[in-house]
């Protein structure tokens, strides 16, 4: 009788259980493996400068993936963040030429709030599928931006020094962007895990009906959520323009799909109710390192995209397998 109890659990299963209990550990291991591969392929590349650079490029992705994480927790998705980020970046760069930076900032954040509000009302009040709603508003946003571009084509664009400093600058080898990101990330993590609003997001994603029956005003939660997501995207746009330094109409668009991937790799369920922001941050880092790795391999663009897709799929599948077998 007692012989079965003292029989040791097989090592493999123990490792698996350990990882399932702490889903961040396999992600960190994967990140380290990627860095090690990079170091083997190109000895000496992993130095302070490289790390600072990786962090700089991972931060915009990580914030956008934060928008995605929060909306995904409620079972939604926000595909308009790319357009919102591009809009605020573009408006900032063109308005700062003639306006006071503070005014330009307010002007730049206006479309973000507006789009977030429309998204939130569409999803929360009219019950439109978030995918459709945010795709639609991003279409409208892109159109508005194109029309806007016509009106400012003569005035030119300028990147405010402060944004360039924030986006690309280093202080003692540490990227300045961390000044923005660390408080922001802490705020998101705190909101999700310690405040009522965060708990509501999980609750809505887990069981919307039960949440509503317990007296939660669904539309208020959703509207607030999409506005927050949009504002975060707008801030990311300002940071990103400081990093890229070339305003264009498709500035942040390439970040949208990777931001979904980062949140999913980080363990947030796309059906809602499960996940968190710390995983997402590591997911964003993994994707950034992966991109460097694929660039360094000097493959043709096509092969790079194929590998990127396959790896995202493989990582997500493997991660789900580890976490789900509790």
């Amino acid at each position: 009788m007692s012989t079965t109890a003292i029989q040791p659990v097989p090592f493999g299963r123990r490792v698996k259980r350990f990882m399932a209990d702490r889903p961040l550990i396999p992600l960190i291991i994967l990140l380290i493996i990627l860095v090690v591969i990079l170091q083997i392929l190109r000895p000496g590349i992993v130095n302070e400068r490289w790390i600072a650079n990786t962090i700089k490029f991972a931060i915009p992705l990580a914030i956008l993936a934060g928008c995605q994480t929060m909306t995904m927790l409620t079972g939604g998705i926000d595909l308009s963040i790319g357009t919102v980020a591009t809009m605020s970046a573009f408006i900032m760069a063109t308005q700062v030429v003639n306006q006071d930076p503070a005014v330009a900032f307010l002007l730049a954040m206006m479309p973000a709030v507006l789009i977030g509000l429309v998204n939130g009302i569409g999803v929360g009040v009219f019950r439109v599928h978030p995918l459709i709603m945010t795709l639609g508003t991003s279409l409208i946003g892109t159109g508005c931006l194109q029309v806007y571009q016509r009106t400012v084509i003569a005035s030119g664009a300028r990147i405010p020094d402060f944004l360039a400093w924030l986006g690309t600058g280093l202080t003692y080898g540490v990227p300045n962007a961390l000044l923005l990101f660390v408080p922001l990330a802490a705020l998101i993590v705190f909101t999700l895990s310690r405040t009522g609003f965060g708990r509501l997001l999980y609750a809505v994603g887990d069981n919307e009906r039960a949440t509503r029956l317990s007296g939660v005003q669904y539309w208020q939660v959703i509207t607030a959520l999409y506005v927050i997501s949009s504002v975060l995207a707008g801030i990311t746009g300002l940071l990103y323009i400081g990093l890229i330094k070339a305003p264009s109409l498709s500035l942040a668009e390439p970040l949208v799909l990777p931001s979904v991937a980062a949140a999913v790799i980080g363990g947030t369920s796309i059906f809602g109710g499960r996940g968190g922001y710390t995983g997402t941050i590591i997911g964003a880092l993994i994707l950034t390192v992966l991109t460097t790795l694929l660039t360094i391999l000097q493959m043709p663009e096509g092969a790079r995209r194929i590998l990127f897709g396959l790896i995202v799929l493989f990582v997500t599948a493997a991660y789900l397998r580890i976490v789900e077998e509790r």
């Binding site: 998705i77 429309v118 569409g122 009219f126 019950r127 439109v128 599928h129 995918l131 459709i132 709603m133 795709l135 639609g136 508003t137 991003s138 279409l139 409208i140 946003g141 892109t142 159109g143 508005c144 194109q146 029309v147 016509r150 799909l257 979904v260 991937a261 999913v264 796309i270 059906f271 043709p300 663009e301 096509g302 092969a303 790079r304 995209r305 194929i306 590998l307 990127f308 897709g309 396959l310 995202v312 799929l313 997500t316 599948a317 789900l320 789900e324």
Partner: protein, 343 residues
């Protein structure tokens, strides 16, 4: 007023109501879209009295790739999924066809067409298998295959190029000469429209009437219920994605046919396909709607674009108007479902 397909499968109230109201109830949304199309058409004639059969022909040719993209999305959405890789699949099949046909004989194209269609079918099936086997949400899997297919398209052709066989190009230009019909009516039957109808009907009508079609609707409306009633859920899902790949391959071929080349960068077909599916009355979430609605919807959307161009409106404003129409229609649809659920 009823939201699309709400009563699609309730056969028994046919006996109670009269046939007409039943038809309207079932096809109300599609009928509304038809009316919208006709109204738009009249508006077009008012804006541009010279708008004639030739312009209609070019409208249909422009719609062709969109229509196939929409068909591809529709099948998957009815099965309760979503396919983000539609546009990339079209790009890949288009460049494959164009690069195989470049410098080859006219007869060789007879082999290329079935090959490309089979390729789409198989790649779609792989999409489905990945979803079933890895248990990763469909939106993530097709997102990943979007990158893979895009990359593959770039490997086949890194810049727009290739060629299309002349008989393929001729297949969608001009009109269908039907003996006994006056030329005036004949001119309104572009070959492209016939091709679209034939290709869609050959696949869709037998499917809709078969057990498989019913299974696709069943897994879309409730996977658990379908599973418990003995529907092979995994197999049905794989086939739904394979069909989507097949339609996307048709779309890729249509692209090559109308432009004469293949372009490795996917066009705006993903967004357009999702918009038309929703506008066409197929519920995201699955199990409801048909193929006719989305196809009519895509015609409506393209005609709106034509009208805006004819009105000499800034093409950039067109994007805003299109997006606003899409959002407004979807909100309206959702609002009506909500009302009918409450009453």
């Amino acid at each position: 007023m009823f939201f699309p397909g709400e009563r699609e499968f309730i056969g028994f109230d046919f006996a109670r109501g009269d046939a007409m109201s039943h038809f309207l109830r079932r096809q109300g949304w599609v009928a509304g879209l038809f009316v919208l199309f006709v109204v738009l058409f009249i508006i077009t004639r008012l804006i541009q009295p010279a708008y004639g059969s030739g312009d209609f022909g070019s409208l249909v040719r422009a719609v062709l790739p969109y229509a196939f993209a929409v068909a591809a999305q529709t099948v998957v959405v009815i099965a309760g999924g979503i396919d983000l890789s539609v546009a990339a699949m079209m790009a890949l099949t288009s460049v494959t066809a164009a690069s195989m046909m470049s410098g080859a004989s006219e007869e060789y194209a007879l082999f290329v067409v079935p090959f490309v269609l089979a390729m789409g079918f198989v790649l779609g099936a792989i999409n489905g298998m990945l979803i079933v086997i890895t248990r990763v949400p469909d939106i993530v899997v097709t997102l990943a295959t979007l990158f893979v297919l895009q990359g593959a398209a770039l490997l086949v052709l890194d810049a727009p190029g290739g060629a299309a066989a002349d008989w393929l190009k001729a297949l969608i230009s001009g009109t269908v000469p039907i003996p006994g019909l006056p030329d005036g009516i004949d001119a309104w039957l572009p070959k492209a429209l016939l091709l679209l109808i034939v290709c869609l009907c050959i696949i869709w009508i037998p499917l809709r009437r078969s057990r498989l079609g019913l299974s696709i609707y069943a897994i879309g409306s409730s996977e658990l219920a379908a599973f418990r009633s003995g529907v092979p859920v995994a197999r049905t899902r794989i086939i739904a994605y394979a069909l989507s790949g097949l339609f996307a391959a048709f779309g890729g071929l249509a692209l090559t046919m109308s432009t004469g080349i293949g372009a490795p960068i996917p066009g705006p077909y993903l967004l357009a396909s999702v918009a038309a599916v929703v506008l066409g009355g197929v519920a995201l979430g699955g199990g409801k709607g048909g193929l006719l609605g989305p196809i009519v919807a895509v015609f409506v959307l393209r005609l709106v674009r034509t009208d805006l161009t004819l009105l000499a409106i800034d093409p950039n404003l067109t994007a805003i108007i299109e997006g606003a129409i899409m959002v407004a229609v979807v909100m309206f649809g959702a609002f009506i479902t909500m009302r009918s659920r409450q009453s």
